[in-house]
């Protein structure tokens, strides 16, 4: 059977630097023209190869995840597959109708009503008018917009816009669906609904390519994964083993990568580390004490703020959250400078597995100011039971209980 997606040795070059053959002013173009005539050597444009010979195939009905560090080439490959940009070399082919969910909501016009935007957005994504009319009710129902559908979109909350946009895109019924990070926004309930919809699309025998920093989501949706690093395919195989390669790549659990999901700027997360038994640890043992330290740099004044560390299981259950508001007995303030924030846990009674750690900065008046999702996930093991990625059995909590069987 021919694959739904066939990517064959794709290379993509971006030109950096001022003399890049790209955006500029007429003046620059003119002077570079003059230099060319004068046989003088033009300043060589700095080339950056975002993709260096990427090849893979995806079968029809398969769902694959593409993961990798920032700048590994994930978004570039998705842009090429969705035909937004062309490769410099190589060839790719896709069979069937292609739908791309790259940052939903682009193409929404704030002046138009929800209804008008559904039609406009649908047309941009490639749906016909009749098709849209047929699916219109379904789209509105899924988005939970209700009677606001005839209100201009500029009066919507960002969450409402998101929901409507996702809803339109999800009803496109493409043969090949390309998804990029969309699920990072929206409330948890709607996120779950989105996962459900993508799962449904997958079960209907459509092909899904999913790109995300949210490894939990990747694990949940994709059996197979491709790991990109520096523009090359480093691993391609079952999700669990590829994720393992990824953790090794980013430093076996001590890495400090974090993706800022929402932020109004001003504060950066420099890194984080876990200490157990007074040593830096890559894993935490169930029930042992541990310390989680975040290093922050602030460039502005923050008054009356508090920090929250939230720990989620891989299936999205909030295991616990700890706020400095309670532990410090009130609000804190940050002047510009560097800080380290430590959460000390006398015991960590969590079942073996992988856990996503989020840190958020809240202001008393501003609400959430910044939020970070740290990478890699926290790995928890127990005596004799090594962390089995993703296969958490026996719940979320580890209770140091004993059991006995006696005849009575």
């Amino acid at each position: 059977m021919t694959p739904a997606i066939d990517v064959d040795d794709i290379w993509k070059r971006y030109r950096l630097g001022k003399s890049a053959a790209g955006y500029g002013t007429v003046k620059e173009a003119f002077s570079s023209f003059v230099t060319r005539i004068g046989r003088a050597r033009a300043e060589p444009a700095e080339d950056f190869w975002a993709l260096k010979g990427v090849s893979f195939q995806v079968g029809a009905g398969e769902a694959i995840g593409i993961i990798g560090r920032n700048g590994a080439g994930k978004s570039t490959i998705l842009k090429i597959l969705s035909r937004i940009t062309l490769p410099t070399r190589g060839r790719a082919s896709l069979r069937g109708r292609v739908g791309a969910l790259l940052e939903v909501g682009t193409g929404f016009n704030p002046e138009l009503t929800g209804r008008e935007n559904v039609f406009l957005n649908g047309a941009i994504l490639g749906m016909g008018r009749n098709e849209l009319r047929e699916k219109f009710d379904e789209i509105v129902a899924f988005s939970e917009i209700g009677t606001f559908i005839d209100t201009p979109v500029k009066r919507y909350s960002s969450g409402m816009q998101m929901r409507l946009a996702f809803s339109v895109a999800a009803h496109l019924e493409p043969d090949v669906m390309l998804v990029d990070e969309v699920l990072a926004v929206g409330d948890e309930e709607f996120q779950n609904k989105c996962f459900g919809k993508i799962g449904e699309i997958e079960r209907e025998g459509r092909t899904v390519v999913f790109i995300s920093h949210n490894l939990g989501a990747v694990r949940r949706l994709c059996k197979r994964c491709i790991l990109l690093d520096e523009g090359r395919v480093v691993a391609d195989g079952p999700t669990d083993s590829v994720l393992q390669t990824y953790y090794d790549l980013i430093g076996g659990g001590e890495a400090t990568a974090a993706s800022e999901e929402h932020g109004r700027g001003g504060t950066r997360l420099l890194g984080w580390e876990v200490r157990s038994d007074d040593r830096r640890a890559s894993v935490v043992r169930s029930g042992e004490p541990c310390e989680i330290t975040f290093r922050l740099a602030s460039t502005v004044d923050h008054h009356q703020i508090f920090l929250v560390m939230a720990i989620y299981s891989q299936d999205g259950i909030l295991v616990s959250s700890l706020r400095t508001l309670e532990t410090l007995g009130g609000f804190s303030s940050l002047d510009p400078g560097k800080y380290s924030v430590t959460f000390r846990l006398p015991t960590f009674p969590v079942a073996p597995g992988l856990y996503d750690v989020h840190l958020t900065l809240h202001g008393r008046h501003e609400g959430q100011i910044s939020s970070w999702h740290v990478q890699p996930p926290l790995r928890v093991t127990s005596e004799g039971a090594p962390a089995e990625d993703g296969k958490r059995e026996g719940g979320v909590l580890w209770l140091p209980g004993e059991a006995s069987v006696e005849r009575v």
Binding site: G22, I84, L86, A92, S93, L112
Partner: protein
Amino acid sequence: MSTPTEVVIEPARRWPRPRLAELWENRELAFFLVLRNLKALYRQTFIGVAWSLFRPLVTTVIFTIFIRLVKVPTLGIPAPLFVLSGLLPWTFFANSVYWGSLSLVVNAPLVTKIYFPRIVLPLANVLTESVDLVLSLVLLAVLSAVYGVALGAEVLLLPVLLLWLIVTCLSVTLWLAAINVRYRDVAFIVPFMIQIWLYLTPVIYPGQLIPEWGRWAYALNPMVGVVESFRWALVGGPAPTSFIGPSLAVVVVLVVTGWWYFSRTEQTFADVI
């Protein structure tokens, strides 16, 4: 759903093929974009669509006063009719070229996030102007009745002339919109260019003022043939025979090269914009 199509992705070509079939598939998108432009334009305006009548009316009055003052010959046509019949295609051209040349940059979020034939964007801007044109035609019909000018059979050529006008606008817009992606200078040049262009086009004076021997050169301005033909079809006057040839020839060259240049640079819009 239709039979699975295969999409092949390959590096940019130097000589891209014109993808007319794809443009046709996206006709509904063009329609919705026109609708969006119109709704976004008039929403939250107090007099709304009446603006489309108000603007040509005021311009006509001012130009009529000007024409009377400097005694420009109007070939026996009442001055307001003379002005409005020229203003009609001119306004269409000026507005669609202005908005069309900005269309790719204004819609940059769309261009960098979703694939669709980019030509739909300038095309939609050109088509949006049709609504204003139709409203101005109504205004012209009223004025004609007031001045007791009867329409001739020439008016039946209007659809053909409209097509000619649209292609003329598109030919200029394709060049400017594509260049604007790379060189934002275009945004500054266009308003200035349109202003100069107005004086080179027989809107407030008749093309017949140009001596016979120079008319072919004058008509290398593609709008000359269009404006003269519109005026002839709508309010009478001498047939624009000597202007049509050169203007048409220039438009054909411009639209073919413009389409090619647009299709070629289209391939890198998302990287450059």
